[in-house]
């Protein structure tokens, strides 16, 4: 498989890549010394708090801040009036986009509140208790409006409108029609009607999935200092310091150079820490008081008011010919945008049939406003919902055809040259290899026995993204290299990026000192998201190392007084082409002062050859038919990583994705009451799985090199969350014979399905 193609170098004997060195940030994180946003303390620092809407949908009639302002210790109170006005302008966030007018109205409500917990005002006080007391003293009068909580309700013609000037963009045209449907798009491949007409077997089902949250451990936080010279510094927890800088500068209406964003260590993001919430509030409060202002969300605020990912309604239909080939597929995908426009059906539509070679496909996607927080990315956003629909139908097809679900997937697999319905033609991909690995796995070969037990299979796809990354590195006189990059480190990327630099220079990973820098200290780097960081910032580090290598070759030539063309660099050693002279990287580094001074490398990249990530999951479960509870017995995740730079991190991503996917499958949901109020805004009742709910998740890393990366790297972070919901649903069917079409498949829902199948309410 190690053939050089396009950008892929075809290296087979890596020295650093593929190993598992001790991570550079490990000790600080283990001993608790690593600095997170909530650790920030400064002289004179004020504490901010936010007034939030108690209603899901209401018009703000008045805001009276006078009592709060009169409270001793309160230094400033702000509302949307304190934020500069914004025109409609779309800002790309790296993963998702935002209309600035909406972003402003999201950080502080402008005339209307659109979800329970929507920020209405903010205060700064000398301590957090005073700030919270001040919040209670702000009187807001509302005209309460009817909330709209599902896409089906929101799409009805007479549905209450969230944004009264919102019209539907359909197939690229503004229809002028006032609606909660912001966008309707379509992907078409072949002739789907003809395909279904020719099909021997057609299955169509409808699916509902709940709104779910990423559940990162660290709440959003921001500390801002607006200095007297109008330089603004923001310390925060983000997946992308540069997107925070861009959004904050736009909302504050100042040039980007006036804002410096210092990314602190980050306690998880999963797509949820890209949009800004607190940063402009802390900045304005700081400007009004002349003091640094720190704001940290509570867990309740995180759940109520930061972007969860979209719930959805999906109608999916697939047609199979006599040979067992999928010849037609249709999907109607309506996804929640939340209170402001967003687009998560779009990536869902790119993934829904992606593991298969299907000649005739039609996909209609709808992005729909509902009275929930503006939805945000969550690990392969949109794809889990999509795969829940398509992979459940595939399972039903396999059952009806009486074929092995993995053989069926192999028989219908997408491969190099397959065109996806949304346009792209695949380069070399690893879907077949994943399916084959699943087929030959010990797990699949092991018979599952026992009452009410079942096995489920599902595939998943995520397209991955490239985007901008920058890296700079300086050679130290002791032979180490200090690396500066702009990707906030969520999954160990400092190390996986440093390893790609070390590989070029023939030094150890431990000899690289990686550092994540602020926005004044490194070139523009897009978010840690889209499974791009090890791929793209790793590529920047690789380029940066090549830059250093070229400079050091010249220095060796200078040292030896020969032509640079006569210097060879291999495995950490420079030598003259006649082999008469050699010098190690370390020794040369120690001599730089004498032969021209310091050496720095730099690189910026914007690569597009992202490859694409495929995964297959096998899950064994047992259903307690008296309670409806599903126990996960065994899970295997098989995923194409292209090349696993740091295998433990790849395994960690696979296990983390599966854990989150199983949570989504079984218990996680935003529980709204009839008034649209979020009833479970705590981690007690928003039930993510704990370690006691999951077995050890077995991982199989498949390596089909990505032709679009020097080391064959594919993004790995997102695809493992795609198959779990469908795999668990298929396992439940195998165990007890009920097809679950709604997420989550909670005990109450499984019980209901069992009662519907078996009659009555069961026996005690």
């Amino acid at each position: 498989m190690a053939t050089k193609t396009e950008d892929y170098l075809g290296i087979t004997d890596y020295k650093v890549i593929g190993t598992r060195p001790i991570r550079h940030d490990g000790v600080d994180k283990v001993v608790g010394r690593a600095k997170y946003g909530a650790d920030i303390d400064m002289a004179g620092m004020l504490h901010g708090a936010v007034v939030r809407s108690p209603h899901a949908h209401a018009r703000i009639e008045s805001i009276d801040t006078s009592k709060a302002e009169a409270l001793a210790g309160v230094k400033a109170v702000i509302t949307v009036e304190d934020l500069p006005l914004q025109e409609d302008k779309i800002e790309d966030l790296g993963e998702g986009a935002a209309n600035l007018r909406h972003l402003r109205a999201n950080v502080l409500a402008d005339g209307k509140v659109l979800y329970h917990g929507h920020a209405v005002a903010a205060v700064a006080a000398t301590d957090i208790h005073t700030a919270q007391e001040a919040v209670d003293l702000i009187d807001v009068e509302y005209e309460v409006l009817q909330p709209v909580l599902t896409v089906q309700e929101a799409m009805e013609e007479d549905a209450p409108l969230l944004l009264e000037d919102q019209t539907t963009q359909s197939l690229g045209e503004d229809t002028g029609q006032k609606s909660n449907v912001c966008t309707h798009f379509r992907h078409e491949l072949g002739d789907v009607e003809k395909g279904f007409a020719e099909a021997e077997l057609v299955i169509e089902r409808e699916f509902d999935t709940a709104t779910v949250h990423q559940g990162y451990i660290e709440p959003q936080n921001a500390t801002a200092l607006w200095a007297a010279d109008d330089q603004i510094t923001v310390w925060c927890s983000t997946q992308g310091a540069f997107t925070v800088r861009e959004q904050t500068a736009q909302i504050l209406d100042v040039p980007v150079s006036q804002v410096k964003v210092v990314p602190m260590e980050i306690g998880g993001g999963f797509g949820g820490k890209i949009r800004i919430y607190l940063e402009p509030l802390a900045a304005i409060l700081s400007r009004q008081t002349g003091r640094p202002v720190k704001m940290v969300m509570s867990r309740t605020e995180v759940l109520q008011a930061t972007g969860p990912t979209a719930g959805s309604y999906i109608k999916c239909k697939m047609g199979i010919d006599k040979a067992g080939k999928i010849i037609a597929a249709y999907a109607y995908m309506a996804y929640e945008s939340g209170g402001f426009p967003g687009s998560w059906a779009a990536p869902g539509a790119m993934c829904i049939f992606a593991p298969y070679n299907i000649p005739n496909v039609l996909i209609d996607g709808y992005e729909v406003l509902v009275n929930k927080p503006q939805t945000m990315a969550y690990r392969a956003p949109g794809a889990t919902n999509a795969a829940f629909a398509s992979e459940t139908i595939i399972d039903e097809i396999c059952e009806q055809l009486d074929v092995d679900p993995l053989e069926f997937r192999l028989n219908n697999s997408a491969r190099e040259g397959t065109r996806r319905a949304d346009g792209p033609v695949y380069p070399r991909i690893g879907n077949e290899e994943c399916v084959k690995t699943a087929l030959s796995s010990e797990h699949y070969a092991t018979q599952l026995s026992g009452k009410n037990r079942g096995r489920g299979i599902a595939s998943g796809f995520w397209f991955n993204v490239g985007l901008k990354s920058s890296a700079a590195a300086s050679v130290n006189s002791d032979g180490t290299v200090s690396l500066v990059e702009g990707s906030t480190d969520i999954g160990g990327t400092r190390t996986s990026i440093a390893m790609q630099l070390a590989e070029v220079l023939g030094i150890r990973a431990e000899d690289v000192k990686p550092q994540v820098a602020d926005t004044d200290s490194i070139g523009d780097t897009d978010v840690t998201g889209g499974s791009r960081t090890t791929f793209a910032t790793g590529w920047a580090a690789y380029q940066c190392a090549l830059d250093i290598k070229e400079q050091l070759i010249k220095r060796a030539a200078k040292l030896w007084e020969i032509s640079a063309d006569d210097v060879v660099f291999d495995d950490g050693t420079f030598s003259s082409s006649d082999s008469s002279k050699t010098i190690s990287f370390k020794d040369l580094a120690g001599m730089l002062d004498e032969i021209g001074g310091p050496v720095m490398g730099r690189a910026t990249v914007n690569p597009s050859g992202v490859g694409g990530a495929f995964a297959v999951m096998i899950v064994d479960i047992e259903v307690d038919t008296e309670t409806g509870k599903v126990e996960i017995l065994r899970v295997s995740m098989i995923q194409d990583a292209g090349k696993a730079v740091y295998p433990s991190y790849v395994e960690g991503q696979m296990q983390g994705g599966v854990a989150q996917g199983i949570g989504w499958a079984l218990n996680e949901e935003y529980a709204y009451n009839g008034d649209g109020l979020l009833a479970n805004a705590s981690l007690l009742d928003y039930r993510m799985p704990t370690c006691l709910d999951l077995p050890m998740i077995e991982t199989h890393i498949v390596e089909v090199p990505n032709p679009g990366h020097p080391y064959g790297v594919r993004g790995v972070g997102e695809v493992p969350i795609v198959p779990p919901a469908a795999a668990v649903a298929n396992a439940i069917y195998d165990a007890v014979g009920v097809r679950m079409t709604n997420l989550p498949m909670s005990p109450a829902e499984v019980l209901k399905a069992l009662w519907a199948k078996n009659g009555g309410t069961g026996t005690a």
């Binding site: 008296e626 409806g628 218990n667 009833a679 799985p689 005990p747 109450a748 309410t761 069961g762 005690a764």
Partner: protein, 291 residues
């Protein structure tokens, strides 16, 4: 969180004095796992009385004649680590070892679980089926209330102004007896019961017939419920009498009057009342057989 006064009385009498002198807006602190969370969520108090310096409130002792005494401020982990509890009161291990995390179990108390009076509390059903009583101190002295009579509604108990719960007394288990507690939660830990149940049985000397039985269920009514009809259905019946066990389950289902909320639906909870009653009875019989 608002400012409040804090006092750590050294005796029951001192605590009673503090309670009498206060304005009534008082928080009693045992482990604090409910109280401190409530304060953070906006509950306002003027005085916090910490019970942990009062010997009677932190004692954990057993006497063959008087049974087990659990001070109201004794943390769960201390209870389930106590060898007498492990050997004689396994149902108390069942309930105290599944509340929250280990950190919570190191702070949280049975007394606090009672006084917080959540309908879904996990310790009351076990204490009820074991015949436990609540020892309450007040300005007029000490009184004892059966565990099943302690609760009057969600968050409400028989505690009057000026009174506090000192300890919970649990009688010595009879020979050939067994008790069992379980709950249903969607996850495997760290959750609030959708429904819970406990049962205790006393068997005859050859361990084939049920002589006494008590069943209690929780999270399916405003308070934990002692299901007298469930116990009565079992008395005099063989340990393998499926009809009798089903009658007990039916009694639990009939007594349950749950609500629907984000933790469970009415029909699910009624159904689970029966399922858990059966499992609790079977567990209790098994333990009695092994006793």
């Amino acid at each position: 969180m608002n400012a409040f006064d804090y006092a750590a009385p050294q005796s029951v009498d001192e605590a009673i004095s503090l309670l009498s002198a206060g304005n009534g807006n008082i928080g009693m602190l045992a482990g604090g796992t409910d109280l401190i969370a409530q304060l953070k969520e906006g509950r306002k108090i003027d005085l916090m009385i910490d019970l942990k310096q009062i010997p009677e409130a932190t004692a954990l002792s057993f006497d063959e004649d008087s049974g087990l005494s659990i001070g109201a401020a004794t943390p769960c982990s201390k209870i389930y680590s106590y060898d007498v509890v492990q050997s004689r009161y396994p149902a108390l291990v069942d309930c105290t070892s599944l509340i929250g995390s280990i950190q919570i179990q190191n702070r949280g108390t049975v007394g606090g679980n009672f006084c917080n009076a959540s309908p879904a509390a996990d310790t009351p059903p076990a204490v009820i089926v074991l015949g436990g009583t609540c020892r309450i101190a007040g300005p007029n002295g000490t009184r004892e209330v059966a565990a099943e009579d302690f609760f009057t509604g969600p968050g409400q108990s028989v505690l009057q102004s000026g009174e506090f719960l000192v300890s919970i007394q649990v009688p010595t288990p009879a020979a050939n007896s067994g008790a069992f507690f379980l709950r249903f939660i969607p996850r495997n830990e760290m959750d609030i019961a959708v429904a819970n149940a406990a049962a205790s049985v006393v068997l005859d000397s050859d361990k084939t017939t049920i002589q006494e039985a008590r069943v209690a269920i929780g999270a399916v009514a405003p308070t934990p419920l002692l299901i007298a009809d469930a116990g009565a259905a079992l008395v005099g019946k063989a340990v393998d009498d499926e009809d009798a066990i089903e009658a007990a389950c039916a009694a639990s289902r009939a007594a349950a009057r749950p609500i629907s909320d984000m933790r469970g639906t009415i029909e699910q909870r009624i159904h689970l009342s029966g399922v858990l009653t059966r499992r609790a009875i079977q567990g209790a019989i098994q333990r009695a057989k092994e006793s």
